[in-house]
């Protein structure tokens, strides 16, 4: 447990945002959970909105950086031939899944938070996510174009969004999905989740053109 007030606020805010959403989580609930004074939120961050942005940035920036690193490593290994679709998908999925599962194990269940960021209403979160994701989207659409040159870029863009939605929904609705499955599946094994995601998305990306 960190002793710095700013980090304690970020940690508690992350947990409570994941559990209850952004607008349903009050600053008082956060400061109670973090055991800090209420006014320290507006001292270290300027407002609740800025706190939301800080929570998102702290998680998304390292993940997206890792995604681009893995993607570049793949592209360098295939300088002249189409890179395998499955490897590109792993570069896209693994950094997120590992980050989520790691937090889960550490008692910080941020799974629904990661699942919800694309869907959160309000222009504040949307513009934040847009600026954080545009580089990643461009890089992966380009990579899929190398892997599947016969698929038009517009269709590849559709399919990348579907690949995002698969993961987003799996994390955000994890308790609901596990309940509906009546014990058939569990969403807590990094490699199993990655296998299922990659197998489905690879099939979808290669699917017959509509």
């Amino acid at each position: 447990m960190p002793s710095d007030t700013k980090d304690r606020i970020l940690d508690s805010a992350e947990i409570l945002f994941a559990q209850n959403g952004f607008s349903a989580t009050s600053l008082r609930a956060i400061t109670d959970h973090a055991d800090v004074n209420l006014a320290s939120v507006n001292y270290h961050f300027q407002s609740k909105d800025a706190l939301v942005q800080a929570v998102l940035m702290r998680r998304l920036n390292p993940v997206n950086q890792r995604r681009l690193e893995m993607l570049n490593a793949i592209l360098q290994r295939f300088p002249a031939s189409p890179p395998p679709v499955e490897e590109i998908l792993e570069a896209f999925y693994r950094p997120v899944v590992e980050e989520v599962m790691k937090s889960q194990r550490e008692g910080r269940p941020i799974m629904p938070l990661i699942g919800r960021i694309f869907i959160e209403p309000g222009e504040l979160v949307a513009s934040q996510v847009r600026s954080l994701m545009s580089q990643v989207v461009t890089a992966f659409v380009d990579a899929f174009h190398l892997a599947l040159p016969q698929v038009p870029p517009a269709v590849l863009f559709w399919r990348l969004q579907f690949a995002v939605g698969m993961m987003s929904h799996t994390f955000a609705a994890a308790p609901l999905i596990e309940g509906l499955s009546r014990g058939r599946i569990r969403i807590n094994d990094t490699e199993e989740v990655l296998r299922q995601l990659i197998a489905f998305a690879a099939g979808g990306l290669r699917g017959a053109m509509p």
Copy 2:
């Protein structure tokens, strides 16, 4: 003659819930938009939570009924041979996409609402969705098992959830997606959306076993 106050509340609540989410939408915003008295919400419905449930039920019940009708029609046309995956997927997707696009055309943009219901935090919405979806999930997993007998039921369940997430995310993050695509795709054509969804999901369902 039943009063139209109740329906006006439902219509306005639906629009504002879709725009701003459930907890960020106040009853005063709803009654102002509907041009009715504030107290009429607690008169016709008992609470805000009950209003949320009523809004969800009014939309989801007809859609899920239509899904099961279309699925049964397909299964009756293939009594002895595996039904085509694409037709099952159309039975799953078309009722939702048509409902959403129809509302969109009528000036009632409920797209983000439909996309967000699986992801909304809080046990109230979750239990509501669970009871509304369990019959549909069971019926479609069974149908996919007929269409793809070589795929284990647990994997089919994973893949049905991925199919849900694709659509969910497409609707909930539609403005974000259209922005990130920089004009490459638009999410307003029923048949185009259905083609893209079905093509990707069919490829994914048929994908190599992980």
